[in-house]
Amino acid sequence: MKQKLLHTIAISALALSAVAAHAEGKLNIYNWGNYTNPEMVKKFEEQHGIEVTLDGYDSNETMLAKVKEGNTGYDIVVPGDYMIAIMIKEGLLAEINASEMENFKNVNPDWVDVYWDPGRKYSVPYQWGTTSFTVDSDVYGGDVNTLALIFDTPEELKGRINMLNDMNDVINAGLRYLDYPRCNSDPEQMKELLALLVKAKDDWRTMDYSVIEKLTSKDVDLSQSWNGAAMRARADRPTLTYAYPKEGFTGWMDNVAVLSDAPNMDNAKLFVNFMMDPENAAMTSNFARYANGVIGSEEFMDAEMLEAPEIVMPAGAPVPDFVQPCDQDVVDLYNQVWTRLKQ
């Protein structure tokens, strides 16, 4: 009898807390944590009379794991470039034809025919940046624009280096230094890469994502980092210089996309169009501190961002290398290298 009672309580609890996900005027956004300007969200809510919920994830892979199972209840996600390619292939994104939307004329033509979404049928630019490294020019006075600082470390930087705890960023940096192609499936070249990484690791101090804390606390003097994080670290430690290595560096772009099982499809499309407006793109940039892909947003952005060498690449810097997602056998090989490196 007790169990029947419990059964009833449980069902009613579930039913009471059930929220109809198909109500008018709702939008559920799933973005990186602390990456969406709350004022921009408020502006969207007031402009369209839609109630927005915002949840945060810590990595593309967590988001993919949840979305792959389906019925998450989210409408908008903001995956990275390679993740968009993966999700389109898996049929997880709705074909919203962003190129036919009203505000699409504002998108910078450089970002229209990209490898992950040619013609922009599924997504629009959110923020983009580069992943390279930043170094204290007081500690190391020489030319910073080379990966030799990480893989053939000069004396003053030995033991003062932090690398990102990211398999792709570390392996790609090594491949660029050795001038080998990305998505490398050649076992000989990968063996050479592993040897290089293991030897260089002796000069590294940590492998950690908390780049800003490590640099501002002077735990390290050189850190692999994203350009926006480097700019924020420079606010606390003015001698930091962001490097654009001649061997190349990673470019990345986060994009706004709509899930194929989104409960609020129309509101989601409204939001995508909203994101392509220059003023709103600028609001995002001012909050997240990265460049956006929308022309005309410069007049609304903070002056500090328009002058920062991290955001505006100097002339003569190599073109950022947007790395495509690799095949499964290459990923398995990378995983092996990464596991060996982390031992």
């Binding site: 007790k2 169990q3 419990l6 309580i9 449980a10 609890a13 579930l14 039913a15 009471l16 807390s17 059930a18 929220v19 109809a20 996900a21 559920n28 799933y30 990186w32 944590g33 602390n34 990456y35 709350p38 919920t53 915002l54 949840d55 945060g56 994830y57 810590d58 990595s59 967590t62 794991a65 949840k66 199972e69 389906g70 019925n71 998450t72 209840g73 989210y74 994502y209 908390s210 800003i212 804390e213 501002t216 606390s217 735990d219 994080a229 924020r232 606390d236 997240a288």
Partner: protein, 276 residues
């Protein structure tokens, strides 16, 4: 510390243990290793500047920032709501399970039931998380029901073994003579439970409930995968901040949570003493 020593004095050979060389030193070292990081966390919540590693001067700005931060407040409320509800149901289920596995003699499937109840403890949490995610996704698709009930359900399930263990321990400690005496005096099983077993069992139930509450409050992996829109709990919120830089608001919120937990535990301790 009082609870710790009472624990020791019940076991045999306690005198020898306390007189072991370096016992005091080791205890202090272990306590230090456990609590030093938390102490640093609390201290830096009063730090004036933004860095979580450099100290400038005393300030309460992060507390006001945290209390004004809508996201933190919402996340904390969701955490507490889920923890309370899950604890309530988990404790009820765990009490029933404990009674069934200690008071009813041998029956076919008893050890299997115990293993099933304790299964969330043995299986790696990520496995439980992904399995729950897949299962709920199918159920959501079939029933069309969404909402925080799913998250509460997931929490209830993994909180049950944590509530179960203290209750079962307390039951095995209690002798059956009280219940036998009540039966002799013509009490029905329900009356026996209500007037004899349950009051005697209360310390175990309270301990189980507290443990379940704390476990639900700081769960990360299962919540990360199972939570739906608008169901961000406090640990998930904090995790989401890591990629973009953590501010001392997190320190402030954590200190508040620690304070609340300490007060709760102290209250429960004093309540239990009065009962004796």
């Amino acid at each position: 510390m009082a609870k710790l020593s009472s624990l020791f004095s019940r076991s045999t050979g306690s005198r020898e243990l306390r007189k072991q060389p370096l016992f005091t030193g080791m205890s202090w070292l272990v306590l230090f290793m456990l609590y030093a990081p938390i102490t640093v966390l609390i201290v830096f919540s009063f730090n004036d500047n933004r860095s979580v590693v450099r100290w400038t001067e005393f300030s309460l700005r992060w507390y006001s920032a945290a209390l004004e931060n809508d996201d933190i407040r919402d996340a904390a409320l969701i955490s507490i709501q889920v923890a309370f509800t899950a604890t309530f149901f988990a404790t009820i289920i765990a009490t029933m399970a404990a009674l069934a596995t200690t008071r009813s003699g041998q029956y076919w499937g008893k050890s299997a039931s115990i293993a099933l109840i304790n299964q969330p403890l043995m299986i790696p949490e990520i496995v439980t998380a992904i399995a729950t995610l897949s299962f709920f996704s199918i159920l959501r698709h079939i029933t069309g029901v969404t909402g925080i009930g799913w998250l509460i359900l997931a929490h209830t399930v993994f909180c049950v073994p944590f509530a179960y263990m203290p209750i079962r321990a307390r039951l095995t400690d209690m002798s059956v003579t009280y219940e036998a005496a009540a039966a002799d005096l013509y009490a029905s099983p329900l009356q026996t439970f209500r007037y004899v077993t349950l009051p005697l069992l209360m310390p175990g139930v309270v301990a189980g409930a507290m443990l379940a509450f704390v476990v639900s409050l700081d769960d990360v992996i299962i919540t990360l995968l199972v939570a739906g829109p608008g169901e961000t709990t406090l640990p998930i919120y904090i995790l989401g901040q890591i990629r973009r830089g953590v501010t001392p608001e997190v320190n402030a919120v954590s200190t508040i949570l620690i304070g609340v937990t300490v007060i709760m535990v102290t209250l429960t301790f004093f309540l239990q003493r009065k009962r004796k």
